[in-house]
Structures are given as structure tokens and as C-alpha cells.
């Protein structure tokens, strides 16, 4: 280099500053193409992703989540969405299905959201005796279509298992078991209102907060049922057979520190002993635009359902805590 009058930084014009190679990015390339053809991906993101198909897909996924109420989801839930070629970290790739990818959603950092139902149920009971159970089952049922919710039924099941174990011990009466049954509000034992009855009742509710709560839970139920999750075939089920059940994404308690919450805390200690199954697994073919469109539509419905649940928890009395991001 010729000597100059001062310091010179050599310039590497037209020389790429970074090279990134993925051994087999065929499926990523195909998916990136399908996403762009479907206008799910935005061409401008190609440059942002440094012209890398895998990064382009990641940016598109983030954009899709944001467009489907991502901020509301992050308010109460800490979840991660990835596209992978196997349904779980432990599962081996099915070589017979070379064009298969999976859209996977699971809790990130094993963090679970929480909702307290007790005060809401008491408020609803003052309107109609069957309204609390209806509200609870609509809420949990809608969210359970997409994410696992840990509620009093899981706690009762665990208490029953503990009772069976204790019964085999010589000093069975010495064991103190959580009184899950005693913590369940009596209104939860009532039958659930059917659709027509509920619609008729909503019209007669005068209290604006209660009306808002009931309308929001009906909307949540309708939103969640817009599409169904695909059934996993036997091969995928086989690959997941050694996994633990999915990690709960929401803990539904009646009061803070109640036996349902205590039961969850105890059970949570063993939930990660074996790799848990992801909450959402949507298998799809990246080379088939119809399959990609179906998958992203399904994922959009899941996002909007979770966001609607997050907003509904905001409306429920005494749920000012458990907020993950404002």
C-alpha cells in the first residue's frame, strides 16, 4: 500500500463483508417463496433479513405475530413461535416426509401466565347463578383449543392421585392433602348456560362491566373456534410419545395462593423433567402455498385468541398483577 500523509483504512469495495451458508436451506427457500407469493411476507424485509431465507422467515413470523395482536399477547403471555423441521427438540426428523415443516408455539423460559377468577365469578353470580360456570368454561375452553390452561380440574386430578398413593401407606390418615374441592366456588357446580340462554341473558344485563365481560368471553369463544387445529398423524404422535404433556401457558386460579395454585407449584417442579410437547404443532408443506396459507391463517387465529384472552384478563377484577409486558 502506498504511503500516504496520514492514516488510511483499506477499503474493500464490492467484497461481501459476511458470508452465511446453511448446509440445507432448501425448505427455508421454498417457504420464503411461498410466503412472498401469498403476500404474507413483505419484499422490503428481504434486505432487512440480509437476503437470508431463514432470517426472512423469522422477520415475517415476527411481522405476522405483530399484525395479529402481538403486543396484547406479550402483555400476559411469554410464548415463542418457531418453524422447525421436527415437532420437538427430541424428535427425529421423519426422512420419508422431506417436505414437512412444523410451526411450533411453546412457552419461552417456562413462564406461565396467571388469571384470578374468584372476584369475576362473584360478580357474575349476582346477575345469574349459572353465569360464573358459563364464563369460566367458555374462557378456559376457548384458550384450551390452542394453549394448555392449568385449572382446578388438573389440581383435582393430582389430588386424586396423591390420595390413591397415600391410601396404600400404613399411616394414610397422617397425610395432609390439598383441599382443591373446598376451594372451588359453589357457583362452579352449576350447569353451563347454552348459547340461546346466554344470548337472551346478555340483553338483560344492565351493569356495563358485567356486560362487557360476558360479551368479551362470547367473542373469545367465537374467535377461538374460527378454525380447528390439525390432527397430528400417527408418525408425529409416535415421535412425541416420550415427551411430557405441554407446559401450561396460563394458570387459572380462584384466589391468589389457593390450593389450585399450590398444586400447580408442586406439579411444575416435575414438568421439565422430560422434554415437554409444544403447545401448538402445525405440520405443513412449505412447497404448497395452500398449505402455507392454511398454517399462517391458523396461527393468526391462535394469536388473536391469545390476545383476546389477555385483554379479557385485563377486564376481570383483581387481575392487575401477573403482567409480563406493558
Amino acid at each position: 500500500m502506498a504511503q500516504g500523509s496520514g492514516l488510511l483504512i483499506p477499503r474493500l469495495d464490492a467484497v461481501p463483508m459476511a458470508h452465511r451458508l446453511v448446509a440445507d436451506d432448501r425448505l427455508a427457500v421454498m417457504l420464503a417463496k411461498s410466503l412472498l407469493e401469498l403476500d404474507i411476507a413483505v419484499p422490503g424485509d428481504w434486505k432487512k433479513a440480509e437476503r437470508d431465507p431463514t432470517s426472512f422467515i423469522r422477520v415475517t413470523l415476527e411481522r405476522w405475530i405483530h399484525a395479529h395482536d402481538g403486543p396484547a399477547i406479550r402483555h400476559r403471555f411469554l410464548l415463542s413461535a418457531v418453524i422447525s423441521n421436527s415437532p420437538s427438540d427430541w424428535a427425529e426428523r421423519d426422512e420419508t416426509k422431506s417436505n414437512q415443516l412444523f410451526l411450533i408455539v411453546e412457552p419461552s423460559e417456562a413462564t406461565c401466565g396467571c388469571a384470578t377468577f374468584g372476584p369475576t365469578l362473584a360478580l357474575l353470580e349476582s346477575i345469574h347463578p349459572q353465569l360464573p360456570a358459563t364464563f369460566f368454561h367458555l374462557f378456559v375452553g376457548a384458550l384450551n383449543r390452542w394453549l394448555r390452561v392449568y385449572d382446578f380440574r388438573d389440581a383435582e386430578e393430582r389430588a386424586e392421585t396423591l390420595r390413591e398413593w397415600a391410601a396404600q401407606e400404613p399411616d394414610a390418615d397422617q397425610y395432609e392433602l390439598p383441599d382443591v374441592e373446598g376451594s372451588i366456588p359453589p357457583s362452579m357446580r352449576q350447569a353451563v348456560l347454552i348459547d340461546g340462554e346466554l344470548a337472551h341473558l346478555v340483553d338483560r344485563i344492565n351493569d356495563p362491566i358485567t356486560k362487557k365481560l360476558v360479551n368479551a368471553v362470547i367473542a373469545l369463544d367465537h374467535l377461538s373456534a374460527q378454525t380447528e387445529r390439525p390432527e397430528l398423524d400417527d408418525n408425529i404422535r409416535q415421535e412425541l410419545s416420550d415427551c411430557n404433556p405441554p407446559l401450561p401457558c396460563l394458570l387459572a386460579v380462584f384466589a391468589e395462593g389457593d390450593p389450585v395454585s399450590a398444586s400447580f407449584d408442586e406439579e411444575a417442579q416435575g414438568m421439565m423433567e422430560v422434554e415437554p410437547e409444544p403447545n401448538i404443532i402445525i405440520p405443513f408443506d412449505p412447497t404448497d402455498t395452500a398449505s402455507v396459507q392454511r398454517t399462517f391463517h391458523m396461527f393468526g387465529v391462535a394469536c388473536q385468541t391469545i390476545a383476546a384472552a389477555s385483554r379479557l384478563i385485563d377486564l376481570m377484577p383483581d387481575n392487575d398483577q401477573w403482567i409480563i409486558s406493558r
Partner: protein, 77 residues
Amino acid sequence: MSRKPKSKEVTKRAVLAELERLRQGRHARYQTLVGRFARCPEFVSAAALCAAAVNASARTYNRTPLDAAPGWLPPVS
């Protein structure tokens, strides 16, 4: 009036064309030696086999012999 959508469409077409080149392995990034290596499963598995063989042979021929117990005759090769 139609300027913005048209420019967006051109970008989309350009990105799709680049992705198509990537799909066919004709993209500039695959024209390097490393690029051709990474795209070829036979190359990759041959290299993995060689690496495993080198590791295995290192384990086989790099043993540290244990000292014979006192009073024992040394091994005769």
C-alpha cells in the same frame, strides 16, 4: 398514481427471482468452493465420515499403556 404499487411489485419479483436462483443452487453464494460443499450431501457425509475415522484412529493409537503391576513380566510384542 400507480408508481408505488409498481415499485413494490418489481421488488417482489426481484426477491422471488433471487429465491428461485437460491432454490436451483444457481445463486452466487453457492458458486464458491464452500458453497458447493455445503449444498452437496455426499460431500458433507464424506467429510463427516473422514472426521469420525480420524477421531476413531486417534483414540485407537493414542492409548497410554498402564504400568505393569510389580513382579509382573512386561508384555512381549
